[in-house]
Point group: none
Chain length 155, copies 4
């Protein structure tokens, strides 16, 4: 069982993403990072705007190191925006509370993250979620990282 996403996994993600980008007719960028948030693969498909790879990277990074999809950080960002804005700069790349980023988890193990940028917010999020489903990644994530530990009696 891989501990981290590998090039073979990233290439499968890129193939699905490119197919969907062409189907949507949108210039998209996709970033894949490992469980530590380090870059595995980034592609800016033709037509995608110059900043979209960095935006996709921030979504992938967030989803990997926060161990839940980036959209799940919105309640936290909304309920404590000052603190969240400080946390958002504590990592190697920006930690963002927005759609379009999903955590790569397989057999319960965190192996990386994927970020999508370049479509509407709804398209970015739908594609990110579709990548998980089509490629057989886990899709269950705890609302707060602490919740599982608390339930398990550990932290």
């Amino acid at each position: 069982m891989p501990k981290n996403v590998m090039q073979e996994d990233a290439e499968k993600i890129m193939a699905v993403a490119e197919r969907e980008a062409l189907r949507l007719g949108k210039g998209l960028s996709i970033a894949v990072v490992d469980s530590g948030g380090f870059i595995v693969s980034i592609r800016r498909f033709d037509g995608a705007r110059p900043m979209t790879p960095m935006i996709a990277l921030s979504k992938a990074y967030t989803s990997a190191v926060m161990q839940r999809p980036s959209a799940m950080l919105k309640p936290w960002s909304n309920s404590d925006p000052a603190f969240f804005s400080q946390v958002s700069t504590m990592g190697h790349f920006p930690i963002v509370a927005t759609g379009g980023g999903v955590t790569l988890k397989r057999d319960g193990e965190f192996i990386g993250g994927v970020g999508v940028s370049g479509g509407t917010p709804q398209e970015d999020e739908a594609l990110a979620q579709a990548l998980l489903t089509e490629l057989g990644y886990d899709t269950d994530f705890a609302e707060w990282a602490g919740a599982k530990g608390a339930a398990d009696g550990k932290h």
Copy 2:
């Protein structure tokens, strides 16, 4: 067809801008950048305040690398302000969601950006738009980027 805005293009922009600054009786600053957001020309016309060249530069940079006029980013900034404020620092210069910046596009190709600062928001925006029209640049911009491969009928 120029790949990027050149000094000759920038000088034409500056000539129109200076004429309009005198007509309005306002101290304006103008920035012109290439398609990668790098400075081509900046002028702070007499009477313009010290920070206006940097403000104009941020508008020009935004319009070049986001490939649409800076005012078109307002809906994004309004709908997801926390995320937009993070994206705003991901480039070489600040990415700003405000009027007064326009993308330089000719024959469908992105060749740079222009920013205007020093007038009222309405004056900055009107001058930026007038520059495009008077000098024959394209004025149609899409909210979302399109896939080039799809448009070309290949892939």
Copy 3:
């Protein structure tokens, strides 16, 4: 003639790089950026260390925006290290004076940059140079930039 390196170009670069990484038995990362230094493609091939994609990116960025291979900056860095260290932070990504980065130029036009990281300094540099040769990019670069107006016989 492409204005900037496209996905098709980047994929050709990645194919050669992956073949060489396997031949060398080294974990390499490769970054491809456009003429403005924006990411087009980054791949960390299996076995490459976590920081290598960012190192490759800095080499690609440098070679694109400085418009000559990153190793050609060494004399500058050696002769005026304090000044060079300041210039190195003036861009969007670090500007580095080291081997392993080459400028993508075709028919005399700058279209991007490539960076290689993960091998020995000699291997990184040799692979970067081999990419240019095998894929038919220009290999002549001037230490100092020439005035375009003068070359065109106008002004």
Copy 4:
């Protein structure tokens, strides 16, 4: 007597600089700032590399706010490099100890700075000095800013 360099002054500087750039056959960037180091005019002449406007700006800024040509900071940078590297980030733009920047002083009054980038170090410095001479600016500067105050018995 002007307190600060104006557009008319900047245009004279740009005209001489452009003439010399074409004579040298080099792609040069020129920056002119006022006595507070704020941008008055920046031009990247055709052929100059993308980063040269920012490098020229750092030289102009340094010469304006340090009130002596940027090359005159070299002894300080050499004798106390750790402290100088800290000072170099204390301003709005980098303070650099290198050639190619000169202070604009007229009738003993500091009115701005000029920076040149894109040629050899010798060419940048020679052009910056030639601008002062040809356009009638003062060319005498005290080695250390404190020297005049000390001589006057004030500080």
